[in-house]
Symmetry: C2
Subunit: 277 residues, 2 copies
C-alpha cells in the first residue's frame, strides 16, 4: 500500500473541492467520493468535476481507503469522529486544518483504534471560499504538512505523502506543536499584520494602494469565520510570533533615523526572502 | 496642448523602461527618447522597444515636451536640475519617486522658472529592477499620483494626467505632504511589516510558507538601496503609520483571548479590503 485507491472527502469547500479536482485531473487515485452537510456544495463539487460520487451522509465514505476531513478548524474533530463510524478498519484519515496540536491530540484519544489518523495541513488557500472558487492549481508547489500522532504510523504517513505528491504538493513531516509554532510565524501572525495594516490605514490611503499592498488586501479579505477559529486554536503561538515581529518593528522604527543600520536590516530580510542584494 | 508629442525619460530602469514600453505600445506619444548614465541600460531599453532614441547625455531630451525623471529617490533632484539645462522653455517635467514633499519643495525652488514641474508617483513596481524586468503591464490599473507645486500649473498637471491615462493608469492629484502620509500607510510601512515578518521568522518556518506569505517575500525581496532612500526620505510619516499599526496589533493581540472581539476586528479589515463577510 502506498497511494490510495479511493479518496473520501468530507467537506466540499474550497480546499476539499480543490483536492478532488487535483486527484481526478492527475489520476492520483481511481475514485473520489465526497460528503458535505450542504447538498448544494456537494452538487457544485460534482458539477466542477471534483467527485465521482457525492452525498450528504457519511456512508458514502465506506469505500474510501483514505479520507480527508476538509471542514473548518472547529468542526474537524466532530466531523472526523462521525466519519469514522462509516469507515472500514485500517482506513487512513487526515484533515486540512491550519492548527494541529489540539486536533491531533483530541483525535488521537477519541478515534477508534483501527482508524489510522495523521494530521494534515496543505499550505494553500485563497481569499475566496466554497467549491466554485476551487482550483487544483492552488495546491501546486505548496507544502503539505503532515503531523503524525504519537503512535507514529509510518504507512499512514506514507499514504498521505503519496497523495500530496500526486497533487503536486511537497510533503513535509513535522511534530504537531512545531507545526503550530512555525505556521504562526509565516501564516497566522502575518495575516494579523495584514489586518492591522488595513485597520490602521485611512480610507483615502486605501484608494491609492500599490501592488505590494494588494497582497495584504487579499489576506485581510479571506474568510473571517475560518480565521477566527484558527486564531483561537493557536493563540499562544501567534502571540509569541507577534511579539517577535514587534521586536523587529521596534528595531526598524529606531533604524529609520540611521540609514546604515536600516539598510542592514532590509538586506537581512531581502536575503531571507531569497532576493538579490 | 493635452497629451505630449515626445516624452523624454531620464533613467531607463524598471519604471522608466516600463513607461517607455507603455507609451510606445499604446501610442500615447509620437516618440520616446531616453537617457541613462549607464550605456548598457539605455541599450537594453532600446532593444526592449521602450525608446525611439537613447543616449547617455541630456541633450537627447531637447526635443521632448514632457520629461519623466525615473531615477532612485536620492538622485531625482540632481538629475532633474541637470536635465533642465537641456530642455526647451515650457517643457513639463515630472518624476516617479515614492516620496514627494522634499523633492517637490527642492525642485520648486531650484528649477529654472520656465520648466514646468509637477511631482509624479506611479504606484507600480516589482521585486525586480532594471530594464530587463520592465513591463508595460506593471502600470495598468495602478494609481499615478500627481503632486502639483504651489504654483499650481493646471496645464502641466493635465499633460501628466493624459500620459498616465494613456498608459492605462489612474491619475490622482494630491498635495505632496498628503501623498507622503497616505503612501506611508499603504506602501512604506507595509514594506517594513514584511521586513519585520521575514526577520522574525525562524529559517524552518520560511521553508513552509503558504501563498499569503509569498507577498511578504516579494516585498522584502525588492531593492534595498531604493527602499533605504524611500524610508530616509519619509521617516516621519512612516513612523506615524507604524505607530498606528502597532496600536492595531495591540488590539488584535488582546483580542486573541476574546473570540467575538477578534471577529469584529477581522471583519473590519475584511470590509476595508473589499471582501465578503
Amino acid at each position: 500500500m502506498i497511494g490510495p485507491r479511493t479518496v473520501g472527502i468530507v467537506g466540499t469547500g474550497l480546499i476539499g473541492t480543490s483536492m478532488g479536482l487535483a486527484i481526478r485531473q492527475r489520476r492520483v487515485a481511481e475514485r473520489v467520493v465526497g460528503v458535505d452537510v450542504d447538498a448544494a456544495a456537494v452538487e457544485a463539487a460534482k458539477t466542477r468535476g471534483a467527485l465521482d460520487k457525492g452525498g450528504t451522509t457519511y456512508d458514502i465514505l465506506r469505500e474510501a481507503d483514505l479520507v480527508v476531513v476538509a471542514v473548518p478548524p472547529d468542526a474537524v474533530v466532530d466531523a472526523a469522529l462521525q466519519a469514522a463510524g462509516s469507515l472500514r478498519a485500517g482506513t487512513v484519515l487526515t484533515d486540512v486544518a491550519s492548527t494541529k496540536a489540539v486536533i491531533v491530540s483530541a483525535l488521537e484519544q477519541r478515534l477508534p483504534r483501527l482508524i489510522r489518523y495523521v494530521g494534515g495541513h496543505p499550505m494553500a488557500g485563497s481569499e475566496r471560499s466554497g467549491p466554485q472558487a476551487a482550483d487544483a492549481a492552488l495546491l501546486v508547489g505548496r507544502p503539505f504538512i503532515i503531523t503524525p500522532t504519537s503512535a507514529g504510523d509510518g504507512e499512514a504517513v506514507e499514504m498521505v505523502s503519496a497523495l500530496a505528491r500526486g497533487m503536486g504538493m511537497e510533503p513535509v513531516v513535522l511534530e504537531a506543536k512545531a507545526h503550530d509554532d512555525l505556521v504562526a510565524q509565516v501564516s497566522h501572525a502575518p495575516y494579523l499584520l495584514a489586518v492591522a495594516a488595513l485597520n490602521a490605514a485611512v480610507d483615502e490611503a486605501l484608494h491609492i494602494q500599490g501592488p505590494g499592498f494588494a497582497g495584504f488586501g487579499r489576506l485581510a479579505a479571506s474568510p473571517v469565520e475560518m480565521w477566527t477559529q484558527i486564531c483561537a486554536g493557536n493563540a499562544q503561538a501567534i502571540r509569541r510570533a507577534l511579539a517577535r515581529m514587534r521586536e523587529e518593528l521596534d528595531r526598524l522604527d529606531r533604524a529609520l533615523e540611521a540609514r546604515n543600520e536600516l539598510a542592514l536590516l532590509l538586506m537581512q530580510a531581502q536575503r531571507r526572502a531569497g532576493g538579490d542584494s
